[in-house]
Symmetry: C2
Subunit: 378 residues, 2 copies
């Protein structure tokens, strides 16, 4: 049983953990719920996939931001550590006992690099770089603490965000990292994120392999120069069985497979949707219009409106209020007080809006898990 | 000096309050910043507008979710209390010493109504209703605590969200509220939210007056029946000087005027933009492409991408990553480590993503304010 403290010390609200063992129908709404049976099945399925492969999982924390789930992902096996997006996420992971962490982003600035160097005394830590100034500043910060940090040179293979171009520039930066004191030059990171939204799996595979091929070629180029590349880390839930089985790829940074959402469900039907937001009807005209007690502040909508889990005839045509979801009711009427379960379009931006996850099994609250990484922006 | 505790107890990160008195350039990014000089000016301007009017302000907490700003809005004068969207927001406001609170939404369910009835023992509290079942359940909950709660019948004047239609249905519900024990039947609430996005002020005024006219007519109908209507509450920053000066309107629930954003700046040039998100360049190609350390998890983008405050030649054409903003650089190149200030399109959804607001004056950190209402969804 996990203790969830409420820093705001609300009066009369009761503690969420008081609900453990009680029916899920008593959870105050809106609330984020994970069906633990579906979660366990998803973790098992992904772990089994990597059981007899060269590449291993490095589950991405940014999708759920919940240290309890990260620990379960490691316990499920075939995982070498956890991926996260931010230094502050790495800090909560280390505080939660995770011992091998990759920050799959550039960490910039003297203060943050000092924090990073401090954190590296507590756990095995790696970070992505794409600029020589980052390597120099990181090395300087590490000189103060005497710790070691692994570095992955990020190579842009078509996403058009961070990273150096494939080829010679990556080799140069890898050499700089290998020469810098305190830095363990581990290898490369590449994310084929521009391919994961492709709906057709064969087209997605074609594009993802072509993209990741650039990273593998860069790896070969660096190795041919005599520099060791121990890790090429990349991939995600959309491509784990495509780029994750390529020769030269060592780690897959999948995250969404644990909880899923209705966007990924179209691309990855093998995983169950374990995440939902339970809501209450607060207004109804008794026929074709009803309003739920959640809006943009409780459901991430960057990939579209949520869908109603048990009511396929109902839709939320425009999801644009901060605290309301207006439902076009096509099925049986909804009345004030009815509870409705929503499936978000995007689990990652939804979890970040909540502070706790109600773990539910067989209709009962099994546990309440803090979402420690919620709001971890630094 | 406000104490900001970090419930995650991060190691080595330092406390945000350690920055008080130091240059704003030391704030770790991404961070939410309020220029207090602009904030003070906005609060003064809005308060002055209502100085010699019948209607008074009831500033909306949902825009900033910061109790310190709510207290300043009350202290600026011509305000009768605070508006909020959720019961949990009312709880943090009451805990922060606010004594007159309107929850401008339907609060549904036995547990929440018990919390509401409990809270009503600590402060003057009112809530919106649009269904007789809510009135009955609220009255039952109040019987247990002996407290009184004010009720505003919500009338839908065109927004198409919550509320009964104008006219007879509102009268019926007002009568039910007046007859229910523990309930103080205060009057009506109507929100002309469908008009506030109209860019042209004259067209906005025309639409807003026509909409709010339906609420005023409903008020007259109820009064003609012999039932007292003490309050008609509605409006917002987009219409405060339109519907806020109508005969029959008593309270204006404006919120965005305090901090502003770049959407409202087009409609309300009289208020200064006091809110921004400071970010750091984490990647750059040295010419036309740079990446900032904030994305959808730190800047609300439901009204469009943020804009760069001091760099009008630069744009963020697609703001769709969780932790990155890709800048199309049109001005002088950005290099890794540069700090860039972003103005959000929507302040309300942005504040909800942060835990603290750095109050800055003359380039120095003046204070750090907790955003107590962040994540208050219940």
């Amino acid at each position: 049983m996990t203790q969830v403290s409420d820093p705001r010390g609300r009066p009369a609200a009761g503690r969420p953990t008081d609900l453990i063992g009680k029916p899920a129908s008593l959870i105050p709404t809106p609330a984020l719920v994970v069906e633990t049976e579906a979660l366990d099945r998803n973790l098992r399925l992904m772990s089994d996939f990597f059981a007899c492969r060269h590449a291993k999982l490095r589950p991405h924390f940014k999708s759920h931001k919940c240290v309890t789930i990260a620990r379960r992902q490691l316990a499920a096996g075939n995982a070498v550590g956890i991926t996260c997006a931010k230094l502050s996420e790495a800090e909560v992971l280390a505080a939660g006992g995770v011992r091998d962490i990759l920050i799959a982003n550039q960490v910039v600035g003297r203060d943050k690099l000092q924090r990073l160097a401090e954190l590296a005394r507590q756990c095995r830590l790696a970070v992505a770089v794409d600029d020589e100034s980052q390597v120099r500043q990181l090395s300087a910060a590490l000189a103060e603490t005497g710790a070691t940090v692994g570095v992955l040179v990020e190579v842009d293979i078509g996403l058009g965000r961070c990273g150096v171009p494939p080829g010679a520039r990556a080799l140069l930066l890898g050499r700089a990292a290998a020469a810098a004191a305190g830095i363990d030059s581990l290898g490369l990171q590449s994310y084929e994120g521009h391919c994961i939204t492709v709906l057709d799996p064969e087209e997605r595979r074609r594009q993802a392999l072509a993209s990741m091929g650039k990273a593998v070629n860069t790896r070969r180029l660096i190795e041919a120069s005599g520099l060791l590349v121990r890790v090429l880390s990349g991939g995600g839930t959309g491509t784990y069985d495509m780029t994750g089985v390529m020769d030269g790829v060592d780690e897959v940074q999948a995250g969404s497979y644990a909880l899923m959402d209705h966007s990924y469900a179209k691309r990855r039907p093998e995983f169950a949707i374990a995440l939902s937001v339970i809501t209450t009807v607060i207004s109804s005209n008794g026929s074709d219009h009803a309003v739920l007690d959640v809006g943009l502040k409780g459901v991430g909508a960057d990939l579209g409106p949520p869908v109603l889990a048990e009511r396929p005839e109902d839709t939320i045509p425009r999801f644009e209020s901060e605290e309301h979801a207006s439902v076009r009711v096509g099925g049986r009427p909804l009345k004030v007080g009815d509870r409705v379960r929503l499936i978000p379009s995007h689990g990652c931006t939804t979890c970040n809006l909540h502070r706790r996850l109600f773990a539910v099994r067989d209709g009962k609250v099994e546990d309440v898990w803090p979402i420690e990484g919620s709001g971890c922006l630094e």
